[in-house]
């Protein structure tokens, strides 16, 4: 029987959501300060209003609904599911007020895309957008990539069983350190170090390419947040193409790759255990998948697209890493992806669907799950062809040697199936609105795997129903379904009880 939360637990859920809103309020101080420093008057008042409203809502929730007892882990999944919705709802306020969006739904879409590190955008006239609003767009990606809950765990919530539940609820399958709070703080620390280094490199390249200093620094920070957190927003139209810089393309490639790595691998690399990088099952899966898809992509682009090998390689590799890492940056001329051979688009869909490492900022099925499924299939075949008394075991290496069991394969298959259904459902809904199957599937996969590459379907003029579909896909994809499915189960149990 499914258990139902009691009144005190309901109050606890709302209390913790209030805390998360306070965290969001603090985050809004950053664009507020930027608006003040750069004398962007309208955005300054927009941010003051949004910040006050969000903070007020947060404090009211905390005062009216005090936290009286620890929340059960299953309810932490509800908090995580709701926190992404609530953050997007309040985070959309300054975007909506900026006047760059067709309505609140578009701003909500943008905020969800930011927090889910997707990168699909409905912004209008981005080239005339203020730095502070752009800062907020990119900050949502940074906060979402780190995990709203990770930040809350690091600074706002004490070590309790609730904290553990929240951590798992946010689609983080592994702990790096024994304590989840320490793990959250480690993830935060890693990202902060990369933020400084990455920003310095990107700003340096932009400045060297002739961009004024202040703009270089701001665009450097924005691109870092979108690149490392595999988000994909850019501060100007045209994505990475806008800057016409090969050096920037290389730097963002590295960032996207780093962002798609499991945070555990970062930890091991920090400890200089380089051997792990070669032995790790995820790295091997990435190497295999990336090499195969690169060969396919180059063949498609060179033969069908009639590009030279170097052109096909430059275009193909960038889009492929972008799709595989779930970032969504593009170095192509705006709208040019639409002219690619269908085979190239299919390769991108596969890369987007797979995604990067678990416990990273990427979306999608994830490499480790695919590797488990592959090993599971091989195991199954071996069992059929070996004598019945033979003792077979599938082994893998991830931080340490381990034996693959049925439970892991089953869990991997469950998520794999849900992602596939989501990709397909979004594609079918896109077809319902009159789009062709391949572009509809491409866009749907991009939304559900939190990538952000687009064939042009995602635009302010697209049907509201499709906007809502992609919002739901981004939300589900970011939380890897589990938290939302559990929340829905609990919701049904509450209604049944009544």
């Amino acid at each position: 029987m499914i258990f139902s939360p009691d009144k005190e637990e309901f109050a606890g859920i709302l209390h913790i959501l209030g805390r998360l809103l306070l965290g969001l309020t603090l985050a809004m101080v950053i664009p507020l300060v930027i608006a003040f420093a750069l004398r962007e008057q309208k955005p300054f008042w927009d941010f003051l209003l949004s910040l006050s409203f969000t903070g007020l809502a947060g404090f009211l929730l905390m005062i009216v609904f005090p936290l009286k007892k620890d929340i059960r882990p299953a309810l932490a999944f509800v908090i995580v599911s709701l926190s992404w919705l609530v953050a997007s709802l309040f985070g959309a306020l300054p975007l909506w007020m900026s006047g760059h969006f067709g309505g609140f739904l578009d701003a909500f879409f943008e905020a969800m895309s930011g927090f889910a590190t997707t990168g699909l955008s409905l912004v209008r006239d981005i080239d005339h957008m203020s730095f502070s609003v752009n800062a907020w767009r990119h900050l949502t990606m940074f906060l979402g990539g780190q995990g709203i809950v990770i930040i809350a765990l690091s600074f706002l919530i004490k070590a309790t069983s609730t904290a553990v539940g929240l951590y798992w609820g946010e689609a983080r399958d592994e702990k790096i350190l024994p304590n989840v709070i320490d793990t959250a703080r480690f993830i935060w620390a890693v990202s902060f170090v990369y933020l400084i280094l990455g920003t310095a490199v990107l700003a340096g390249i932009l400045f060297w390419q002739g961009v004024p200093l202040l703009k270089s620094v701001l665009h450097g920070v924005f691109l870092f947040m979108a690149g490392f957190d595999t988000g994909g927003f850019t501060p100007r139209s045209g994505g990475i193409f806008y800057y016409h810089s090969f050096a920037l393309e290389i730097a963002t490639l590295v960032l996207m790759f780093l962002g798609s790595l499991n945070f555990n691998l970062h930890y091991y690399l920090w400890l200089r255990k380089k051997k792990e990088a070669w032995q790790n099952i995820e790295m091997r899966a990435f190497f295999f998948s990336f090499t195969t898809l690169t060969v396919l992509m180059t063949v498609f682009l060179v033969n069908l697209g009639h590009l030279s090998l170097s052109e096909g390689f430059r275009q193909g590799i960038y889009q492929l890493i972008s799709a595989h890492s779930g970032c969504g940056f593009s170095n192509l001329y705006p709208g040019w992806l639409d002219s690619w051979p269908q085979g190239g688009l299919v390769v991108l869909i596969i890369a987007m669907a797979i995604g990067g490492g678990v416990c990273s900022t990427t979306g999608g099925i994830k490499l480790m799950r695919l590797a488990f499924l592959f090993k599971g299939v091989v195991w199954e075949i071996r069992e059929k062809i070996y004598p019945s008394n033979a003792r077979l075991a599938a082994k893998y290496h991830h931080l340490s040697d381990a034996v693959l069991d049925d439970k892991r394969i089953k869990a991997a298959f469950f998520i794999f199936l849900l992602y596939l259904l989501s990709y397909l459902a979004g594609g079918i809904i896109g077809m319902f609105y009159g789009y062709k199957f391949l572009p509809a599937l491409f866009e749907s996969t991009s939304a559900a795997a939190n990538v952000g590459l687009s064939l042009g379907i995602t635009c302010p003029a697209m049907p509201a129903g499709l906007k809502i579909t992609y919002i739901i896909q981004m939300w589900l994809g970011r939380l890897e379904f589990v938290a939302v499915v559990i929340s829905l189960g609990l919701l049904i149990s509450v209604f049944r009880r009544r």
Binding site: T25, E40, Q41, K42, W45, D46, L48, L49, L51, S52, F53, G55, L56, F59, L60, M62, I63, R124, D125, D127, H128, M129, S130, Q209, G210, V211, R236, S237, G238, F241, Y242, Y243, H244, S245, W278, R284, F288, T291, T292, V295, L296, V299, V302, N303, L304, G305, H306, L307, S308, E311, Q315, N331, L332, Y333, P334, G335, W336, S339, W340, P341
Partner: protein, 162 residues
């Protein structure tokens, strides 16, 4: 990592793909190749100019779309006072040039400018903030601070009681 079986798999994949690729249908870029290169003339708002060794990239906003123009060293670029950005409408320039499919300079079609002229100056404008918005923001901010104070005092009170 680089076990022979992986290398063998890749070679096998390559061997499989190469003959397959030669039997592919007509190129999809063929159509656009037939249309370009051609003479082109348009005007747009200047967003950015990036100088490079052999020329400059000029990013223009043409009817809400980004168009990048390559201006080789010999082509004179008129002085641009305003570039499009927040609260700024960039100067409008007219470009006469050739549209080509040149992937070496770009990852898409390129307009190589022959003549560039400034046709309309840009301008800066000030923000307009409604008094009602300012008042609402101030009232909400004051309420937020009051709430924060109540929360802190209540928390302190609870701690003292314990």
């Amino acid at each position: 990592m680089f076990k022979p079986k992986y290398i063998f798999s890749l070679v096998l994949l390559g061997v499989f793909l190469l003959p397959m690729s030669s039997s592919f249908p007509a190129p999809i870029f063929g159509k656009s190749k037939a249309v370009i290169p051609r003479e082109i003339s348009f005007s747009g708002e200047v967003l950015d100019i990036f100088s490079r060794a052999k020329g400059s990239w000029i990013n223009l906003l043409v009817k809400d779309r980004l168009v990048s123009v390559w201006a080789p060293k010999g082509v004179k670029i008129p002085p641009v006072k305003y570039k499009g950005g927040y609260n700024t409408i960039g100067d409008t320039i007219e470009v006469k040039g050739i549209l080509t499919r040149d992937f070496k300079k770009n990852t898409g079609p390129v307009v190589t400018a022959k003549v560039i002229e400034r046709v309309k100056p840009g301008c800066r404008f000030a923000d307009k903030v409604l008094l009602r918005e300012k008042n609402t923001a101030l009232v909400l901010f004051a309420s937020f601070l009051a709430c924060a104070l109540i929360f802190v005092l209540a928390k302190g009170g609870r701690k003292n009681a314990e």
